[in-house]
Amino acid sequence: MDVHLKDLTFLYPNHDQPVLQGLTLDIPSGQFVAIIGQSGCGKSTLLRLLAGLLHPTQGQITFNGAVSNGRSRIHTVAWMAQSPALLPWLTAYQNVALALRFARNGTPPLMSPEEALSRVGLGDYIHEYPQHLSGGMQQRVALARLLVQGASIWLMDEPFSALDELTRENLSNTLLDLWQWLKPTILWVTHHIYEVVRLADRILVLSPRPAQIAADIGVELPRPRDENHPRFATYVTQLRKSLFHANGQESASNDWFNT
């Protein structure tokens, strides 16, 4: 599903400076878009606007050319945040089934909660309560919950940032598999430059507030991506330069890059 932002501005009540100002953007259906930028620049606000958690002060968001409001929005966009936000009184299965219950619109669901949990590697843990699952497993449940919604746009706000390196890589591989299988449009906020180049089709670098698109980088590397590919390092360098440039800094030394 295409996403179109037209002249999008957002200002928190009782604040002078807008978080986003006049943002215009087109995202074609099925694209894996990473959004990167300095902390507090408005990345999460942009995602919250798309999820319907905030309302634009000015401008318009359209999905496939139509404004999506109210209950129908759950069939269009699915939301996943840094916290897995699981209900501790429900099992993994029940947590996923609840999402399905909210997403049900008369048509047969894309998949059952069991199938979604199996897809994310939790087939043996469907009756476990969240407090008996590790952080990575809890995020897998959240991913399964996103799957059953059957939404064509996935909004992911630093979903794996609280996890250790290895778990994060495993989960991002799972996410990549799911994206290649279902081809949803993904808008993914993160701070991990390597991960961004490894996964995304397109990288949007946001400037500090009021956020503007400082750089729009298309990643044209074959999949599966190899970090040893010479162009991989070029993208990483380009992205770092763009980040520094967006924040009004000249460039970073290689020492800083390697930290």
């Binding site: 999820a51 958690l53 109210g70 759950i74 939301w79 945040a81 209900l87 009184w89 407090q131």
Partner: protein, 260 residues
Amino acid sequence: MPTVKKARPMTGSTRSKLITWGLIVGALSAWEVGVRVGNVPPYLLPAPSLILRTLIQNLSTYLQASLITFGEALLGLLIGTCVGVLIAILVTFWPGLEHGVMSLAILVKSTPLVAIAPLLTIWLGFGWQPKVIITALVTFFPVLVNVLVGLQTITPSLLDLFHAWQANRWELLWHLRLPHSLPYVFAALKVSTPLALIGAIVAEWTGASGGLGRLMWLAYTNLNLPHLFAAIFILATAGMLLYQVTTQAEKRLVFWYTSS
């Protein structure tokens, strides 16, 4: 070759129970010995053995009175809890009501029980109604305050999720706010269950046709301390039992809270 059975080490829970019962038995024994050695007259302090004898000899009277008092206390507790939860839901739905409702609740809470009980007895008679009302009045406040916190302090990420699902206020209440407030309901019940017994007894003291409070009042006016202590013993035991029941129910129903 004969096998040697190893003694199983005592668990923390068993040791704790043994210590509790040891303290109770020790205190009662000290009381018994103190009364006998000191020749304390029963109209001042009866020995535990005399209290137990009085209780056994008048068992049917005490059972009948207990049924009345516990019935009033539990009905009042039920009504107080339901009213507390309902008001907390109303305040959550319409936050503008909070200041007015809480002022009124604090006013009711601050008014001494002994001042309201005689009035209710005058208006409603010696039956169960004034006792149930008093009990409901003393129990609703802890429930209201606790449940309000439970309904309102939801983790922002969970609220975001439900808002992203476009959940309406009833869905939010049913699927998120009410289950989230269950631990707070039990925290309130641990306070309000003993309060319910106190409420029923105080109300019975101001005028009743039956119940443990009435038996206690009669025993007090006749300086019949063995009877008075027998009623106190029943109340203390019932309070402990009700607390245990609440704790066990909490463990079963709010397992996710205690284990997390």
